[in-house]
Amino acid sequence: MMLSELIVYLTAGHPNKEEFLKFAREISRTVDAMEIGIRPRIAKYDGPVIRRSYLVAGGYTRKELIAMASGLSSYMVALTYLDDLIDDELRLMKSSGYSAVLIPDLLIDYPERLAETAQLVSSSGLKNALFVTPFTPDSYIDAASRLADAFLYLGIRPSTGIPTPVDVGKVVKRIRERHRGKLVVGFGLNESEIKVALSSGADGIAVGSSIVSALEKDREKALELVKRLREVVDSV
């Protein structure tokens, strides 16, 4: 049996360049992949914790932030909004060692640009991690499923980190029924929801705001949290 994957989200340059790099290296063997958030101009679908982390990570250009993560993990996913993404950033991501790109607003604000954007990402030598939500219609889940050669990422909650009540099992099953490839689930999951998501068919779990929030205060606490999450994911 294949073990489930743990993907950890970090905001590039947060809480500062040194701590970010140190923490990322410390967890690189514990996690299967890292998602690196590149500060957007407008954090339109992020919750309070991630929005704050972008402010803290100020002082660098986007290109500096992209390059900062170079070689940190064997599987890195760049997270950026389409609003902010410019062509040569994709090339920079490739040369900095990223494997895939996740564009959370693509299927929300620019669904008509799905195929074109996926093609652009592919032609830069990167894979597509495509972001869907419980609000994504069936027809777009099917289209994203066909194009997601990295994985399909299901963001359970519309705003990161706000613990809105969601029936995680039902939401995961709906997507699982339509998607055969790798399915990663994230956005504000607590421990029991991680277990529900994995037992409902998710292949991996992505965790972001709880780690970013811990990292803001105490790197050791954040490290413990990652180890704990590894245990939870492996226990299912």
């Binding site: 679908y45 939500t133 609000f135 994504t136 219609p137 519309p158 969601v166």
Partner: protein
């Protein structure tokens, strides 16, 4: 009569032609989505965020729907057809048959039920003209909950019958602004005594936060539209029994809950028919509105929603149809309109009043002035069918009766 009450609610989101943009938080350090967590019953929020095409309706809610007269009748307006000498056949779903006189009860019943089930003893809401407040008052008394309603003071004074109805059902009705909340006291101090829906909502939310009462939402949110889907599901069955396939489906739009409840299940079964959302010309959101993120409430309490909107600061003119005086259109309906699945039309108040009078004189039912906007459009469409000799079936939602607001018809000559 068809004895059919749906056992599941229908949610259109998985079937939309374009993705529905999720609610968004307005500010860096404040989350209005988090406020929803504290004031809405958990199950209601779960329905809002767990998108499934069909959701089972608890048997207690089905029983309440039955007790209050669901299924509501689907009637044919034969006398109106005759008067218009149209080859079109005109049917209408009559939500005014419910005890409080409108469709609003469909969404109040589940919200009060879940509040009770989660151990609450009190619910609170705001109301303008009183349709939503009356629905919450009745469903609360049915389930044995206390209810508190903040009613816009100008309506409180001008519509004593609505207030009396809520009080008869056991509700505590406060004119808003009131001195029960900080929001209300601030307004009173500034001399804004006549009130507004935004202030009333602000008071209800503050009351919910301070006293632990659950807040009941009347329209716009997806979950409210889903609770209204009993209307359209019944209509499909009732048309089947009559062996009628609908061609044109019409409803009026304030926030969108009666229109969505009526049409969404039908859109799912008959995707290529003509669907028409009718607004008031005086509030030109369909012709002048912009599709963007905006506050659904002028109290700026709920999260930002992407919708067709005239802007949250838009001040609607004082038309009689209080239920249509809203700056936005529910997010899912905004998607359907921008994608061309639903056509939008606007009718002015004079046309609505004339159509409502004609309908009352021929069919007996006095439509709420909001619903009379749909009637006015139906009449135009039936006359167009006459010109083109189209033998079509027009079905519209008569969302409420106007018996408690007869002055709407008598004050304008």
């Amino acid at each position: 009569m068809v004895e059919f009450i749906p056992k599941r609610w229908f949610n259109i989101i998985p079937k939309l032609p374009k993705p529905l943009p999720p609610p968004r938080d307005p500010e860096i350090d404040r989350s209005s989505i988090e406020i929803l967590n504290r004031i809405l019953p958990e199950e209601v929020l779960k329905h809002q965020f767990t998108v499934e095409e069909y959701v089972d309706i608890p048997s207690e809610v089905v029983d309440a729907y039955r007790a209050f007269g669901r299924p509501t009748p689907l009637l044919r307006a034969t006398k109106l057809e005759e008067r218009l000498s149209t080859p079109a056949r005109i049917y209408f779903k009559f939500e005014g048959a419910l005890p409080t006189g409108s469709h609003k009860l469909n969404a109040a019943i589940p919200q009060t039920y879940y509040a009770l089930k989660e151990g609450n003893s009190e619910v609170v809401t705001e109301t303008g003209a009183g349709q939503w407040g009356a629905a919450v008052a009745l469903s609360s008394s049915y389930f044995g909950l206390r209810s508190v309603v903040f009613m816009v003071r100008s309506s409180y004074m001008q519509k004593p019958q609505r207030r009396q109805l809520m009080e008869l059902y056991g509700s505590t009705v406060n004119p808003s602004p009131s001195d029960l909340t900080k929001v209300g006291m601030r307004e009173l101090k500034e001399g804004n005594v006549s009130g507004s829906l935004a202030t009333a909502m602000g008071e209800a939310v503050e009351y919910a936060l301070d006293r632990g009462a659950k807040y009941m939402v009347g329209s716009v949110l997806d979950v409210v539209l889903m609770y209204q889907s009993v209307i359209g599901q019944e209509t499909i069955k009732q048309l089947e029994v009559l062996d009628v396939e609908p061609d044109v489906l019409v409803g009026c739009v304030g926030g969108g809950s009666n229109f969505a409840g009526f049409t969404y299940p039908i859109i799912n079964s008959f995707p290529d028919k003509e669907y028409v959302a009718v607004g008031a010309s005086e509030i030109p959101k369909f012709s002048m509105g912009v599709y963007r993120y905006d506050y659904p409430d002028s109290a700026r309490i709920l999260p930002l929603l992407k919708m067709i909107t005239l802007g949250v600061d838009y001040r609607p003119p004082p038309i009689y149809s209080g239920g249509l005086r809203y700056h936005g259109v529910a997010p899912s309906l905004s998607v359907l309109i921008t994608e061309g699945v639903v056509k939008a039309a606007e009718v002015d108040e004079r046309e609505a009043i004339e159509a409502g009078r004609m309908f009352a004189r021929l069919q007996g039912i006095v439509p709420a002035l909001e619903s009379a906007h749909a009637v006015a459009y139906v009449i135009k469409r039936a006359l167009e069918a006459k010109e083109k000799n189209e033998r079509i079936n027009i079905v519209f939602n008569l969302s409420g009766h106007g018996l408690l607001e007869l002055n709407n018809y008598t004050e304008v000559t």
